[in-house]
Amino acid sequence: MSDAGLRVIQPGLHTTVQDLGRIGSQRFGIPVSGALDPVALRAANVVVSNPQETAGLEIAVMGPVLEVQAESTRVALAGVGARLVVEGIDGGTRESPPLQSTRLRRGDRVRVAAATASAVTYLAIEGGLAFSPFLGSQATYVRGGFGGLDGRALVAGDLLPLASAVAEERTEMRLDGFDLEPASEIRVVLGPQDDYFAPDAIESFLATPYTVSREADRMGLRLDGAPLDHAKGYNIVSDGIAPGSIQVPGSRMPIILLADRQTTGGYPKIATIISADLAAVGRLLPGARLHFRAVSLAEAVAAIRLLEHEMAGLTARLSPIRPDGPDLERLYDSNLISGVTDAHANPGCSL
């Protein structure tokens, strides 16, 4: 067993190990958990050549600082506005944008500046993390104290074991033009308990905007907006909860249930977010405005087909970052365009 790992220098606000969730144990009351934004985690994994379901770090609000205690490793971030700052053991500092791979060497420190436009940022690590799975998953469920690192968020001093102790040198890759923006229009399929609501409640739900309140965590998002009146009371005999279920308790304010949702619940569920829109809902920050649009099951299935088609094509969309010398786009961005133009104009230059 290798002792290669990432040492946690600063843990960040709430950094947990997450994968695509713990499937198959909900009948025992065990929540699925997993990434709030699985699309972002999968994209970050693609950039470091991992299978998309590989566990990575989910980072909320404030990112961690990690030190490489392995010969080398390769990482990539996903999250709108996130940045990776590498403080090299040689004293140099470089920055890496999201969805771009970076190779790190022993002693390098990486500081994750978390996404500014998303509630969650992901750090994928080539080869993945080597925590023992619990019930088939490394996903951390803090309330139950299991998964990931002892079922808790990272703390300073932790060592995150790496599945591979070495990342070979190769051309670094990036994924351009991949949308990881939070949702503003959220598509839902009405039900399963839409008949527990007055018709004008359904109308308000679909016609008026809602705002994500400060009560927002991995379990769910409590919304503020038009109150929704129940037609038949707000207590039902508990039944199952699907990902993206929108339940309305006695407060009459809807709650979107996310990754750490309980497996069953006793409030009527007015609608369910379609699976294709769930990742973008996981990105929502408190204060975000959104509205719901009802679609048919057929439209929901068409949407998830489209998304999964795009996800299956991500690897083919990777482009290499020039291994030697400057990255042209960077040069343009840095206003060095005149120098590049001059070089082209000079026949003696072999750019």
Binding site: R27, G29, S238, T264, L297, V301
Partner: protein, 245 residues
């Protein structure tokens, strides 16, 4: 021959879950049908079905919409509904030691007072019943059980406790539960079992499954302490006491 039950309803919970609803009340006959359907679907190993969640009155079928459609899934399940009487699910009986009252069961005296019984009567009534596990939920491994004696039926506490210790044995209305982890909770705490209903160190992390039967056996606080020590060390093994039909 039992009376023909009301027909099941199929409901969509988004594009990845189908609800097969047998009723809207807590009812043993409904629960038996829910669990029998889960067994029947498990036995069929339907491609695209990801997992099943039995609840008091419905079965939630989580599925992959890219592998099977809602309509197709409904078409596979509908024919199974007529044959549920013939499906006999496995039935396991667990006998769990409980120490009643005192610090371990802080609501025993109040429950006795409010029901006009003595604490000893409450314990006698609570242990006289063989409970049916309707579903697991709320916490990993938390069993929703019934049906408790009518004499002990009380609404939930007006003010829930912020911290209920793991293993607390509780009641509300005619339901019974056991806190599988420390948690906030509003049910009445009668006692405590040393048995870990959820233990991530065990191969079967969750002790109970929907359809299981549970009885409680009173033990002294001293016995509880000894067993709790064994459980903490991972040495307390609880097996089903017998298989009944």
């Amino acid at each position: 021959m039992i009376a023909e039950p009301s027909p099941a309803r199929f409901l969509a919970a988004g594009d990845t879950a189908l609800v097969v609803e047998f009723g809207d009340q807590v009812d043993r006959a409904v629960s038996d049908r829910v669990i029998a359907l889960a067994d029947a679907i498990d036995a069929r190993a339907i491609p695209g079905v990801i997992e099943l969640v039995p609840t008091f009155r419905s079965l939630m079928v989580h599925y992959d919409p890219l592998r099977i459609g809602h309509g197709e899934l409904q078409g596979v399940i509908a024919p199974l509904l007529g044959k549920l009487g013939a499906v006999r699910h496995r039935e396991r009986l667990f006998v769990l030691p409980v120490t009643y009252g005192g610090d371990h069961g802080p609501d025993l005296d109040e429950v006795a007072e409010r029901t006009g019984l003595t604490p000893a009567d409450v314990v006698r009534l609570h242990t006289a019943v063989t409970y049916h596990v309707y579903a697991l939920g709320f916490l990993p491994g938390y069993p929703y059980m019934g049906d408790g004696p009518e004499e002990l039926s009380l609404p939930r506490r007006e003010t829930p406790r912020v911290r209920v210790p793991m293993g607390s044995v509780c009641i509300a209305f005619r339901q019974a539960g056991i806190y599988s982890l420390e948690s906030p909770g509003g049910w009445h705490l009668l006692g405590r079992t040393p048995v870990h209903l959820f233990d991530k160190r065990r191969e079967n992390a969750v002790l109970l499954a929907p359809g299981d039967k549970v009885r409680f056996e009173p033990v002294s606080a001293d016995v509880y302490d000894r067993l709790a020590e064994d459980a903490a060390a991972g040495r307390l093994e609880i097996r089903p006491a017998g298989v009944s039909a």
